[in-house]
Symmetry: C2
Subunit: 208 residues, 2 copies
Amino acid sequence: MPLGELFADPTDTREELMAATYGALCEHGYADLTIQRISDHFPKSRSLLYHHYDSKDELLVDFLGYILDHQESTLPQDADGEPTQQLRELLDHIHPTAPDTQRSQFLCAIIELRAQAATNPEYQAQFTRSTQYFHDRFVRILERGIADGHFRTVDPDRVAGLFVTTIEGAMLQAATTDVDGEQLSTVRAELDTYIDARLTNVDSEAAE
Amino acid sequence: MPLGELFADPTDTREELMAATYGALCEHGYADLTIQRISDHFPKSRSLLYHHYDSKDELLVDFLGYILDHQESTLPQDADGEPTQQLRELLDHIHPTAPDTQRSQFLCAIIELRAQAATNPEYQAQFTRSTQYFHDRFVRILERGIADGHFRTVDPDRVAGLFVTTIEGAMLQAATTDVDGEQLSTVRAELDTYIDARLTNVDSEAAE
Protein backbone atom coordinates (compact mmCIF):
# COMPACT_ATOMS: atom_id res chain seq x y z
CA MET A 1 0.00 0.00 0.00
CA PRO A 2 1.53 3.36 -1.00
CA LEU A 3 1.90 5.92 1.77
CA GLY A 4 -0.75 8.20 0.32
CA GLU A 5 -3.32 5.42 0.70
CA LEU A 6 -2.12 4.70 4.23
CA PHE A 7 -3.21 8.19 5.24
CA ALA A 8 -6.30 8.43 3.03
CA ASP A 9 -8.88 7.00 5.40
CA PRO A 10 -7.90 7.36 9.08
CA THR A 11 -10.18 5.46 11.45
CA ASP A 12 -9.13 6.67 14.91
CA THR A 13 -7.49 9.64 16.60
CA ARG A 14 -3.95 8.33 16.25
CA GLU A 15 -4.40 7.64 12.54
CA GLU A 16 -5.94 11.10 12.13
CA LEU A 17 -2.91 12.62 13.86
CA MET A 18 -0.55 10.68 11.59
CA ALA A 19 -2.51 11.68 8.48
CA ALA A 20 -2.49 15.32 9.59
CA THR A 21 1.28 15.17 10.07
CA TYR A 22 1.73 13.64 6.62
CA GLY A 23 -0.46 16.28 5.01
CA ALA A 24 1.30 19.14 6.75
CA LEU A 25 4.76 17.75 5.91
CA CYS A 26 3.85 17.38 2.23
CA GLU A 27 2.46 20.91 2.17
CA HIS A 28 5.05 22.80 4.23
CA GLY A 29 8.19 20.62 4.58
CA TYR A 30 9.95 20.28 7.91
CA ALA A 31 11.48 23.73 8.17
CA ASP A 32 8.12 25.51 7.96
CA LEU A 33 6.17 22.94 9.94
CA THR A 34 4.39 24.09 13.08
CA ILE A 35 1.96 22.42 15.45
CA GLN A 36 -0.63 24.91 14.14
CA ARG A 37 -0.12 23.70 10.57
CA ILE A 38 -0.43 20.07 11.61
CA SER A 39 -3.54 21.05 13.52
CA ASP A 40 -4.97 22.59 10.33
CA HIS A 41 -4.98 19.06 8.82
CA PHE A 42 -6.46 17.50 11.97
CA PRO A 43 -10.26 17.20 12.11
CA LYS A 44 -10.38 17.27 15.93
CA SER A 45 -9.35 19.92 18.42
CA ARG A 46 -5.86 21.30 18.72
CA SER A 47 -5.95 20.67 22.47
CA LEU A 48 -6.40 16.96 21.76
CA LEU A 49 -3.23 17.11 19.67
CA TYR A 50 -1.36 18.71 22.57
CA HIS A 51 -2.82 16.11 24.89
CA HIS A 52 -0.90 13.43 22.95
CA TYR A 53 2.36 15.26 22.21
CA ASP A 54 4.43 17.81 24.09
CA SER A 55 6.27 19.08 21.04
CA LYS A 56 6.50 19.02 17.27
CA ASP A 57 9.62 16.83 17.46
CA GLU A 58 7.94 14.29 19.74
CA LEU A 59 5.09 14.01 17.22
CA LEU A 60 7.49 13.69 14.29
CA VAL A 61 9.59 10.97 15.94
CA ASP A 62 6.38 9.03 16.60
CA PHE A 63 5.38 9.64 12.97
CA LEU A 64 8.68 8.16 11.72
CA GLY A 65 8.10 5.06 13.82
CA TYR A 66 4.57 4.79 12.45
CA ILE A 67 5.81 4.89 8.85
CA LEU A 68 8.42 2.23 9.55
CA ASP A 69 5.83 -0.01 11.21
CA HIS A 70 3.74 0.41 8.07
CA GLN A 71 6.66 -0.46 5.80
CA GLU A 72 7.49 -3.52 7.86
CA SER A 73 3.91 -4.77 7.62
CA THR A 74 3.50 -4.18 3.88
CA LEU A 75 6.84 -5.25 2.40
CA PRO A 76 6.80 -8.60 0.60
CA GLN A 77 7.49 -11.18 3.27
CA ASP A 78 10.28 -13.72 3.07
CA ALA A 79 8.76 -16.90 1.77
CA ASP A 80 9.89 -19.90 -0.18
CA GLY A 81 10.32 -18.09 -3.49
CA GLU A 82 13.39 -17.97 -5.69
CA PRO A 83 15.98 -15.83 -3.83
CA THR A 84 17.07 -13.72 -6.82
CA GLN A 85 13.46 -12.82 -7.50
CA GLN A 86 12.94 -11.98 -3.83
CA LEU A 87 15.95 -9.66 -3.84
CA ARG A 88 14.62 -7.86 -6.89
CA GLU A 89 11.15 -7.50 -5.38
CA LEU A 90 12.53 -6.03 -2.18
CA LEU A 91 14.66 -3.60 -4.20
CA ASP A 92 11.63 -2.65 -6.29
CA HIS A 93 9.71 -1.82 -3.14
CA ILE A 94 12.24 0.47 -1.52
CA HIS A 95 14.45 1.91 -4.27
CA PRO A 96 13.18 5.35 -5.30
CA THR A 97 11.84 5.73 -8.84
CA ALA A 98 10.53 8.74 -10.72
CA PRO A 99 8.41 10.28 -8.00
CA ASP A 100 5.05 11.91 -8.54
CA THR A 101 4.85 15.39 -7.09
CA GLN A 102 3.30 14.61 -3.73
CA ARG A 103 5.64 11.70 -3.15
CA SER A 104 8.56 13.92 -4.07
CA GLN A 105 7.50 16.55 -1.54
CA PHE A 106 7.21 13.87 1.08
CA LEU A 107 10.63 12.44 0.22
CA CYS A 108 12.10 15.93 0.63
CA ALA A 109 10.43 16.23 4.03
CA ILE A 110 11.85 12.86 5.07
CA ILE A 111 15.36 14.00 4.13
CA GLU A 112 14.83 17.16 6.20
CA LEU A 113 13.77 14.96 9.13
CA ARG A 114 16.76 12.74 8.51
CA ALA A 115 19.09 15.72 8.76
CA GLN A 116 17.68 16.31 12.26
CA ALA A 117 19.16 12.92 13.12
CA ALA A 118 22.60 14.47 12.72
CA THR A 119 22.07 16.26 16.03
CA ASN A 120 19.01 14.67 17.68
CA PRO A 121 19.43 11.17 19.19
CA GLU A 122 15.70 10.35 19.02
CA TYR A 123 15.56 11.00 15.30
CA GLN A 124 18.82 9.10 14.93
CA ALA A 125 17.34 6.07 16.69
CA GLN A 126 14.44 5.96 14.21
CA PHE A 127 16.66 6.15 11.13
CA THR A 128 19.10 3.62 12.59
CA ARG A 129 16.17 1.28 13.14
CA SER A 130 15.03 1.79 9.54
CA THR A 131 18.50 1.18 8.06
CA GLN A 132 18.98 -1.90 10.24
CA TYR A 133 15.56 -3.28 9.40
CA PHE A 134 16.16 -3.21 5.64
CA HIS A 135 19.69 -4.53 6.14
CA ASP A 136 18.32 -7.53 8.04
CA ARG A 137 15.71 -8.21 5.39
CA PHE A 138 18.41 -8.40 2.72
CA VAL A 139 20.59 -10.59 4.95
CA ARG A 140 17.81 -13.13 5.42
CA ILE A 141 17.20 -13.50 1.69
CA LEU A 142 20.95 -13.76 1.02
CA GLU A 143 21.42 -16.41 3.71
CA ARG A 144 18.64 -18.50 2.24
CA GLY A 145 20.01 -18.12 -1.29
CA ILE A 146 23.48 -19.19 -0.14
CA ALA A 147 22.08 -22.16 1.77
CA ASP A 148 20.13 -23.47 -1.21
CA GLY A 149 22.98 -22.89 -3.70
CA HIS A 150 21.39 -20.07 -5.71
CA PHE A 151 24.05 -17.62 -4.53
CA ARG A 152 27.78 -17.86 -4.12
CA THR A 153 29.11 -18.06 -0.57
CA VAL A 154 29.35 -14.31 0.03
CA ASP A 155 29.34 -12.39 3.33
CA PRO A 156 25.64 -11.46 3.61
CA ASP A 157 26.39 -8.39 5.76
CA ARG A 158 28.68 -6.93 3.13
CA VAL A 159 26.26 -7.41 0.27
CA ALA A 160 23.25 -6.24 2.30
CA GLY A 161 25.26 -3.17 3.33
CA LEU A 162 25.85 -2.25 -0.29
CA PHE A 163 22.16 -2.62 -1.14
CA VAL A 164 20.91 -0.47 1.72
CA THR A 165 23.63 2.15 1.35
CA THR A 166 22.94 2.52 -2.37
CA ILE A 167 19.19 2.82 -1.84
CA GLU A 168 19.67 5.49 0.82
CA GLY A 169 22.05 7.35 -1.47
CA ALA A 170 19.45 7.25 -4.24
CA MET A 171 16.84 8.69 -1.86
CA LEU A 172 19.26 11.47 -0.89
CA GLN A 173 19.95 12.28 -4.53
CA ALA A 174 16.26 12.19 -5.44
CA ALA A 175 15.51 14.75 -2.72
CA THR A 176 18.51 17.08 -3.06
CA THR A 177 19.78 17.07 -6.64
CA ASP A 178 18.15 17.45 -10.06
CA VAL A 179 18.49 13.69 -10.71
CA ASP A 180 15.55 12.43 -12.79
CA GLY A 181 13.65 9.17 -12.89
CA GLU A 182 15.81 7.84 -15.71
CA GLN A 183 18.99 8.24 -13.67
CA LEU A 184 17.35 6.58 -10.66
CA SER A 185 16.34 3.66 -12.89
CA THR A 186 19.92 3.37 -14.09
CA VAL A 187 21.20 2.82 -10.55
CA ARG A 188 18.42 0.33 -9.92
CA ALA A 189 19.38 -1.56 -13.12
CA GLU A 190 23.02 -1.62 -12.07
CA LEU A 191 22.01 -3.29 -8.81
CA ASP A 192 20.42 -6.06 -10.89
CA THR A 193 23.66 -6.46 -12.81
CA TYR A 194 25.55 -6.52 -9.50
CA ILE A 195 23.31 -9.38 -8.34
CA ASP A 196 24.15 -11.34 -11.50
CA ALA A 197 27.89 -10.63 -11.37
CA ARG A 198 28.42 -11.01 -7.64
CA LEU A 199 25.81 -13.43 -6.37
CA THR A 200 24.47 -15.75 -9.03
CA ASN A 201 26.10 -19.11 -8.61
CA VAL A 202 27.10 -20.10 -12.13
CA ASP A 203 27.78 -23.65 -10.91
CA SER A 204 24.05 -23.99 -10.32
CA GLU A 205 23.30 -22.79 -13.90
CA ALA A 206 26.09 -24.01 -16.16
CA ALA A 207 26.58 -27.63 -17.07
CA GLU A 208 30.25 -28.32 -17.54
CA MET B 1 44.80 18.14 1.89
CA PRO B 2 42.13 17.42 4.54
CA LEU B 3 39.49 20.09 5.03
CA GLY B 4 40.78 21.02 8.50
CA GLU B 5 44.12 21.98 6.96
CA LEU B 6 42.42 23.92 4.20
CA PHE B 7 40.99 26.26 6.80
CA ALA B 8 43.98 26.27 9.16
CA ASP B 9 45.89 29.19 7.69
CA PRO B 10 43.70 31.65 5.76
CA THR B 11 45.67 34.28 3.85
CA ASP B 12 43.03 36.76 2.68
CA THR B 13 39.57 37.99 3.62
CA ARG B 14 37.70 35.42 1.56
CA GLU B 15 39.69 32.55 3.07
CA GLU B 16 39.11 34.02 6.52
CA LEU B 17 35.37 34.12 5.82
CA MET B 18 35.41 30.49 4.64
CA ALA B 19 37.44 29.40 7.68
CA ALA B 20 35.03 31.25 9.99
CA THR B 21 32.08 29.51 8.34
CA TYR B 22 33.76 26.13 8.73
CA GLY B 23 34.54 26.78 12.39
CA ALA B 24 31.03 27.96 13.17
CA LEU B 25 29.43 25.02 11.32
CA CYS B 26 31.59 22.52 13.22
CA GLU B 27 30.73 24.20 16.51
CA HIS B 28 27.02 24.90 16.06
CA GLY B 29 25.71 22.88 13.11
CA TYR B 30 23.40 24.43 10.53
CA ALA B 31 20.25 24.74 12.60
CA ASP B 32 21.91 26.90 15.27
CA LEU B 33 24.13 28.84 12.89
CA THR B 34 23.78 32.62 12.81
CA ILE B 35 25.74 35.37 11.11
CA GLN B 36 26.81 36.44 14.61
CA ARG B 37 28.30 33.00 15.31
CA ILE B 38 30.17 33.00 12.01
CA SER B 39 31.37 36.49 12.87
CA ASP B 40 32.70 35.16 16.21
CA HIS B 41 35.14 33.03 14.18
CA PHE B 42 36.05 35.91 11.84
CA PRO B 43 39.06 38.05 12.81
CA LYS B 44 37.81 41.14 10.98
CA SER B 45 34.72 43.27 11.48
CA ARG B 46 31.20 41.96 11.22
CA SER B 47 30.33 44.80 8.85
CA LEU B 48 32.94 43.47 6.42
CA LEU B 49 31.15 40.11 6.52
CA TYR B 50 27.85 41.82 5.69
CA HIS B 51 29.59 43.74 2.93
CA HIS B 52 30.27 40.44 1.17
CA TYR B 53 27.03 38.54 1.87
CA ASP B 54 23.41 39.58 2.22
CA SER B 55 22.35 36.49 4.16
CA LYS B 56 23.51 33.38 5.95
CA ASP B 57 22.27 31.22 3.06
CA GLU B 58 24.17 33.26 0.47
CA LEU B 59 27.35 32.76 2.50
CA LEU B 60 26.71 29.03 2.91
CA VAL B 61 26.03 28.45 -0.79
CA ASP B 62 29.32 30.21 -1.56
CA PHE B 63 30.99 28.05 1.10
CA LEU B 64 29.71 24.85 -0.55
CA GLY B 65 31.14 25.98 -3.88
CA TYR B 66 34.45 26.75 -2.18
CA ILE B 67 34.67 23.26 -0.69
CA LEU B 68 33.89 21.65 -4.03
CA ASP B 69 36.54 23.78 -5.77
CA HIS B 70 38.97 22.56 -3.14
CA GLN B 71 38.00 18.93 -3.64
CA GLU B 72 38.34 19.26 -7.40
CA SER B 73 41.84 20.69 -7.04
CA THR B 74 43.10 18.13 -4.52
CA LEU B 75 41.65 14.84 -5.75
CA PRO B 76 44.12 12.53 -7.48
CA GLN B 77 44.10 13.56 -11.12
CA ASP B 78 43.43 11.17 -13.96
CA ALA B 79 46.79 10.12 -15.30
CA ASP B 80 48.25 7.15 -17.07
CA GLY B 81 48.05 4.80 -14.08
CA GLU B 82 46.39 1.42 -13.91
CA PRO B 83 42.60 2.03 -14.05
CA THR B 84 41.65 -0.37 -11.25
CA GLN B 85 44.14 1.33 -8.94
CA GLN B 86 42.81 4.75 -9.95
CA LEU B 87 39.26 3.71 -9.16
CA ARG B 88 40.32 2.52 -5.72
CA GLU B 89 42.25 5.72 -5.02
CA LEU B 90 39.28 7.89 -5.96
CA LEU B 91 37.03 5.77 -3.74
CA ASP B 92 39.54 6.06 -0.89
CA HIS B 93 39.45 9.83 -1.18
CA ILE B 94 35.71 10.33 -1.07
CA HIS B 95 34.17 7.33 0.70
CA PRO B 96 33.61 8.15 4.39
CA THR B 97 35.63 6.20 6.96
CA ALA B 98 35.58 6.26 10.73
CA PRO B 99 35.40 10.01 11.28
CA ASP B 100 37.29 11.87 13.98
CA THR B 101 35.04 14.07 16.05
CA GLN B 102 35.53 17.35 14.25
CA ARG B 103 35.14 15.74 10.85
CA SER B 104 32.01 14.02 12.12
CA GLN B 105 30.53 17.33 13.26
CA PHE B 106 31.33 18.82 9.89
CA LEU B 107 29.79 15.87 8.05
CA CYS B 108 26.63 16.34 10.09
CA ALA B 109 26.57 20.03 9.16
CA ILE B 110 26.98 19.14 5.47
CA ILE B 111 24.01 16.78 5.68
CA GLU B 112 21.97 19.56 7.29
CA LEU B 113 22.98 21.86 4.43
CA ARG B 114 22.12 19.12 1.97
CA ALA B 115 18.62 18.85 3.42
CA GLN B 116 18.17 22.55 2.58
CA ALA B 117 18.62 21.49 -1.04
CA ALA B 118 15.26 19.72 -0.80
CA THR B 119 13.56 23.11 -0.89
CA ASN B 120 16.21 25.67 -1.94
CA PRO B 121 17.30 25.67 -5.61
CA GLU B 122 20.66 27.35 -4.91
CA TYR B 123 21.68 24.66 -2.46
CA GLN B 124 20.37 22.06 -4.87
CA ALA B 125 22.55 23.46 -7.67
CA GLN B 126 25.67 23.06 -5.51
CA PHE B 127 24.92 19.45 -4.55
CA THR B 128 23.94 18.57 -8.11
CA ARG B 129 27.28 19.98 -9.25
CA SER B 130 29.08 17.90 -6.62
CA THR B 131 27.29 14.66 -7.54
CA GLN B 132 27.86 15.29 -11.24
CA TYR B 133 31.54 16.11 -10.72
CA PHE B 134 32.31 12.84 -8.97
CA HIS B 135 30.18 10.94 -11.46
CA ASP B 136 32.22 12.37 -14.34
CA ARG B 137 35.49 11.52 -12.62
CA PHE B 138 34.44 7.88 -12.34
CA VAL B 139 33.21 7.84 -15.95
CA ARG B 140 36.57 9.05 -17.25
CA ILE B 141 38.51 6.34 -15.44
CA LEU B 142 36.03 3.69 -16.58
CA GLU B 143 36.20 4.83 -20.20
CA ARG B 144 39.99 4.63 -20.16
CA GLY B 145 39.92 1.20 -18.53
CA ILE B 146 37.47 -0.10 -21.14
CA ALA B 147 39.51 1.37 -23.98
CA ASP B 148 42.75 -0.27 -22.84
CA GLY B 149 41.11 -3.63 -22.10
CA HIS B 150 41.45 -3.59 -18.30
CA PHE B 151 37.68 -3.44 -17.87
CA ARG B 152 34.85 -5.24 -19.54
CA THR B 153 32.70 -3.21 -21.96
CA VAL B 154 30.26 -1.85 -19.38
CA ASP B 155 28.09 1.27 -19.54
CA PRO B 156 30.31 3.78 -17.69
CA ASP B 157 27.32 5.90 -16.62
CA ARG B 158 25.66 2.96 -14.90
CA VAL B 159 28.75 1.89 -12.99
CA ALA B 160 29.71 5.47 -12.07
CA GLY B 161 26.14 6.02 -10.87
CA LEU B 162 26.41 3.09 -8.50
CA PHE B 163 29.73 4.34 -7.08
CA VAL B 164 28.53 7.88 -6.42
CA THR B 165 25.13 6.81 -5.09
CA THR B 166 26.72 4.35 -2.68
CA ILE B 167 29.24 6.90 -1.42
CA GLU B 168 26.50 9.48 -0.84
CA GLY B 169 24.44 6.86 0.98
CA ALA B 170 27.42 6.08 3.21
CA MET B 171 27.81 9.78 4.03
CA LEU B 172 24.11 9.97 4.90
CA GLN B 173 24.37 6.92 7.16
CA ALA B 174 27.56 8.22 8.82
CA ALA B 175 25.79 11.47 9.71
CA THR B 176 22.34 10.21 10.69
CA THR B 177 22.59 6.67 12.07
CA ASP B 178 24.80 4.95 14.65
CA VAL B 179 26.82 3.22 11.90
CA ASP B 180 30.45 2.86 12.97
CA GLY B 181 33.74 2.94 11.11
CA GLU B 182 33.79 -0.83 10.74
CA GLN B 183 30.44 -0.86 8.95
CA LEU B 184 31.56 1.96 6.65
CA SER B 185 34.71 -0.03 5.85
CA THR B 186 32.55 -3.02 5.00
CA VAL B 187 30.67 -1.09 2.32
CA ARG B 188 33.95 0.28 0.98
CA ALA B 189 35.35 -3.29 0.80
CA GLU B 190 32.26 -4.50 -1.03
CA LEU B 191 32.82 -1.82 -3.68
CA ASP B 192 36.27 -3.35 -4.26
CA THR B 193 34.67 -6.75 -4.70
CA TYR B 194 32.13 -5.19 -7.07
CA ILE B 195 35.01 -3.82 -9.16
CA ASP B 196 36.51 -7.31 -9.38
CA ALA B 197 33.24 -9.06 -10.16
CA ARG B 198 31.77 -6.53 -12.54
CA LEU B 199 34.66 -4.73 -14.22
CA THR B 200 37.88 -6.72 -14.25
CA ASN B 201 38.32 -8.20 -17.67
CA VAL B 202 39.35 -11.78 -17.00
CA ASP B 203 40.38 -12.14 -20.65
CA SER B 204 43.19 -9.69 -19.96
CA GLU B 205 44.34 -11.73 -16.94
CA ALA B 206 43.72 -15.40 -17.69
CA ALA B 207 45.73 -17.30 -20.26
CA GLU B 208 43.56 -19.98 -21.78
